[in-house]
C-alpha cells in the first residue's frame, strides 16, 4: 500500500496523534467546561493548552481569537457568511476551492454580494496588479487560497496585504499550514482559515480559524457554551461566541499530539523531507513520455502537491490503474473547478499526487515505476 493522497488528509498519523486521542478517550472523556467536575475541567485544559500551542504556532497574539471548527470548510464559511452584508464587494482568485466559491455564490444570489475573480496565470500565479485593478469603494475583503490544492503553488500573501491595505485579507491555508511557514503577523493576515487533519496531523473532523482583533463576525452556530447559561442570548465574548455545542475534544487532543510531533521533529525538517520527495516525483514524471505536469514544478514557492496528466488517458483511468497496484492518489477536479479552468484541465481534471512526511523514498520510486508501466500500455 502506497498512500499519496496527503493533500486530502495525512495518513498515517504520527504516534503522538493516536496517543493523545487515546488518552483522552480512555482516561478523560468529560465534556469540556460544562460541569465543573474534574474530568470536565481536564477536558477543558486540553482544549486550552491546544489553543495556546496552535496560536503560538501561527504567531497569533491572543489565543482567545483562535477558534476550533469542524474543518477548513467550516472556518471559511464562518469567515465568509459571518463577514459580508448586502452590497459588499469581495475579491477572490481563479484558484479557489469550492469551500470559498460555494459560500460566495450563495451570498451573490441571496444577498447581492458582489464577487470579483482575479484571474491567475496558467501556472496558478496571481498577478497583484489584477487585485489592485479590481478594488472598489465597497470592497470589504480579499480571499486568497494560500497554497493550491490542485498544483501546490503558493501565493505571495504578504505582498497582497501591502496592496489591499485596510481591506480584510482572508487566507485559506488548508494546504500550507504545517507544510509552509505561516506567521500571521509577518504575513499581515486578518483571518486565517485551515484544517487540522492535513499537515497538523490531527484526526479528521477538526479545523480552526484565527480572527484578528477588531474584526467581528456573525456566528455560524448558536447554542450551549457552558457559560452565561442563564441567558438565551449568544455570549459576545471569545472563544465562546463562535464555539457552540460539544466540541470535537478527541480531535483537539489528537491535534495536541500532532503539534507535539511537529515540535519534536522540527517544522523545517518536515518541510525539507516532503519537498525532497516532491523533487523526486517531479524529476521522475519529467522523464516519462506523454506526461504533462501542471503549475510551476521548478519554482521554489510550492507545497508538495503535484498535478499531472498522461497523454491518451483520462485521469480516472490512471487513478484506476494505480489503485489496482495499491497506490492511492486523487483524480478529478479536487473540488476546484475554477482552478482547473485556469490551468486548462477542465472538466477532466488531473491526477494529483501528494507525498507526506511518512512517505518513503522507495514508495515514490515504486509509484514512478508503476506509472511508467501504465504509460507503456
Amino acid at each position: 500500500m502506497i498512500y499519496l493522497d496527503n493533500a486530502a488528509t495525512s495518513f498515517p498519523k504520527p504516534k503522538e496523534t493516536v496517543e493523545y486521542a487515546n488518552n483522552f478517550i480512555l482516561n478523560i472523556g468529560g465534556n469540556p467546561g460544562r460541569s465543573g467536575h474534574t474530568l470536565s475541567t481536564e477536558a477543558a485544559r486540553i482544549i486550552f493548552e491546544t489553543r495556546e500551542r496552535l496560536t503560538t504556532f501561527i504567531n497569533g497574539k491572543d489565543s482567545k481569537r483562535l477558534l476550533f471548527t469542524q474543518n477548513g470548510t467550516e472556518s471559511l464559511n464562518l469567515a465568509i457568511l459571518g463577514l459580508f452584508k448586502e452590497k459588499d464587494h469581495v475579491i477572490t482568485t481563479s484558484m479557489e476551492h469550492n469551500s470559498v466559491m460555494r459560500p460566495l455564490t450563495f451570498l451573490e444570489k441571496e444577498k447581492g454580494v458582489e464577487v470579483s475573480i482575479a484571474r491567475c496565470s496558467k501556472q496558478g500565479r496571481l498577478d497583484i496588479k489584477e487585485i489592485k485593478r479590481l478594488i472598489k469603494k465597497n470592497t470589504k475583503a480579499v480571499i486568497i487560497n494560500h497554497g493550491s490544492n490542485v498544483i501546490g503553488n503558493v501565493q505571495p500573501v504578504e505582498e497582497i496585504k501591502d496592496t489591499v491595505r485596510d481591506i480584510i485579507l482572508i487566507v485559506d491555508a488548508c494546504q500550507t499550514i504545517g507544510a509552509y511557514p505561516i506567521d500571521i503577523e509577518r504575513d499581515n493576515i486578518d483571518i486565517l482559515c485551515f484544517s487540522c487533519h492535513k499537515s497538523l496531523y490531527s484526526i479528521q473532523g477538526l479545523g480552526a480559524i484565527y480572527i484578528r482583533d477588531g474584526i467581528k463576525l456573525k456566528p455560524l452556530k448558536f447554542g450551549g457554551t457552558g457559560s452565561k447559561s442563564e441567558f438565551t442570548e449568544q455570549p459576545d465574548f471569545l472563544p465562546d461566541k463562535y464555539e457552540s455545542g460539544t466540541p470535537n475534544t478527541p480531535g483537539i487532543a489528537s491535534l495536541l499530539g500532532g503539534l507535539t510531533f511537529i515540535e519534536k521533529t522540527g517544522l523545517e525538517h518536515i518541510i525539507k523531507k516532503k519537498m525532497a520527495l516532491r523533487e523526486v516525483i517531479i524529476k521522475g514524471l519529467s522523464v516519462i513520455n506523454g506526461i504533462t505536469v501542471y503549475g510551476n514544478p521548478d519554482g521554489k514557492e510550492n507545497v508538495p502537491v503535484i498535478s499531472f496528466n498522461m497523454k491518451g488517458k483520462l485521469p480516472s483511468e490512471v487513478g484506476y490503474e494505480l489503485n489496482k497496484k495499491g497506490i492511492y492518489v486523487r483524480v478529478g477536479l479536487h473540488c476546484s473547478p475554477l482552478a482547473h479552468k485556469t490551468i486548462g484541465t477542465f472538466p477532466e481534471g488531473t491526477v494529483r499526487v501528494a507525498p507526506g512526511y511518512f512517505t518513503g523514498e522507495e514508495e515514490v520510486v515504486k509509484f514512478l515505476e508503476v506509472l511508467r508501466e501504465i504509460a507503456r500500455k
Binding site: P32, G33, K64, S229, P235, L238
Partner: protein, 86 residues
C-alpha cells in the same frame, strides 16, 4: 484577619479560568478550581477559589478579563471591585 478570607474569582469563560490557573500555578499561589457557588452565579462552570491575598495575585492576571470577584469571610460573600477590573 486575612487568613480567614477566601476569594472567589469568576470569569466569563472557562478559557479565562484556565488562563488564570496557569498564571497562578506558575507563581505558586494557594488556590483551587471549584464549581461556581450557586448563590454567586447560575453559571454551570468553574471559578478560582483563592486562599492568598488578592492584592498579591492581581498583577499576574491583569490581562485576563474578570467577570466578578467575591470575598468570603466564613459567613457571607461580598463583591469586591479590583483595580484590574476597573
Amino acid at each position: 484577619m486575612q487568613e480567614n478570607r477566601t476569594y472567589f474569582l469568576l470569569f466569563h469563560t472557562i478559557h479565562d479560568v484556565l488562563k488564570a490557573e496557569k498564571a497562578l500555578k506558575r507563581h505558586g499561589f494557594n488556590f483551587e478550581l471549584v464549581p461556581v457557588p450557586r448563590n454567586l452565579s447560575s453559571d454551570c462552570g468553574s471559578c478560582i477559589k483563592l486562599k492568598d491575598r488578592i492584592e498579591d495575585v492581581t498583577p499576574y492576571i491583569e490581562d485576563i478579563e474578570l467577570d466578578r470577584c467575591f470575598v468570603f469571610d466564613g459567613k457571607e460573600y461580598k463583591e469586591v471591585k479590583l483595580k484590574a477590573d476597573s
